[in-house]
């Protein structure tokens, strides 16, 4: 809760109840922050693995929905992986997402480039933007939930505490990643 303003008993109760109600969201959010943090922390090692894989011709072929053929190099998450292909301009790397929709799988290039490290950095930066989108949506859902459950009560301090908690989850990992990415070379 907010350190500057003492919450009332009702606000404390609402906070505890909302923590329980949104527990799955909060756990999933933290797990995804951790996953992105791990990618950022191991960025140079993953880029090296992708580069080493590119020197070999092994790796399953993935055809993305734009018709481009890639070879799988390294898994990033359950549904995203670093892939590579040879072009006239040299090796190209991409982060490819395979989304298992009910109607069929889609395979999209999230971002690509000739430097594996830069491709991974761009991916990690984009994922942090996604986390911010998610954070703002969870905060809005908490606000909606509290407005319905505690009508005519000021629960702004409770909503704010959720927002701060989620922002800290993102920024703590971002600052660690920034510290660790200095001097990364492949």
């Amino acid at each position: 809760m907010n350190y500057y303003e003492r919450p009332t008993a009702l606000q404390e109760q609402a906070y505890a109840e909302a923590r329980q109600h949104f527990a799955e969201h909060l756990n999933q959010f933290k797990a995804n922050c951790d996953a992105i943090h791990n990618i950022e922390s191991n960025l140079s090692a993953i880029a090296n693995d992708a580069f080493r894989a590119a020197l070999q011709s092994s790796g399953r072929v993935i055809q993305t929905d734009d018709g481009t053929q890639w070879q799988h190099a390294v898994d990033l998450t359950k549904i995203t992986s670093v892939c590579r292909r040879r072009t006239s301009a040299g090796l190209e790397f991409a982060v490819v997402e395979c989304l298992p929709f009910k109607s069929g799988e889609i395979k999209d290039v999230l971002n690509s480039g000739h430097d594996a490290s830069e491709v991974l950095q761009t991916f990690a930066r984009d994922q942090r933007q996604v986390l911010n989108l998610w954070k703002n949506d969870v905060t809005a859902q908490v606000r909606e939930h509290l407005d319905e459950k505690y009508p005519h009560q000021d629960m702004s301090i409770v909503v704010e505490s959720f927002d701060i908690k989620l922002a800290r989850d993102i920024s703590r990992r971002e600052s660690v990643a920034q510290n660790q990415s200095h001097g990364v070379r492949i």
Binding site: Q28, L99, F101, K102, S103, I106, Q129, L133, W134, R143
Partner: protein
Amino acid sequence: METIPENETQTAAPPVERLAYSVQEAADMLGVHYFSVYRLIQRGKLKTCRALRGKLLVPRAELLKLLETE
């Protein structure tokens, strides 16, 4: 004279199709995790609107468009 069978008079009205869904509902409909839906939104592949308190809503038309395209 024909009479309306009793079970027909008691038939529930067909479910009204919603105009928009939350991210969680959209994820359930697509069969993916909701983080993937936020990813699609961030990449501009799914357009959203916002409810009164700022909650993201995915219009039904956008979901159908995505499913048809893919």
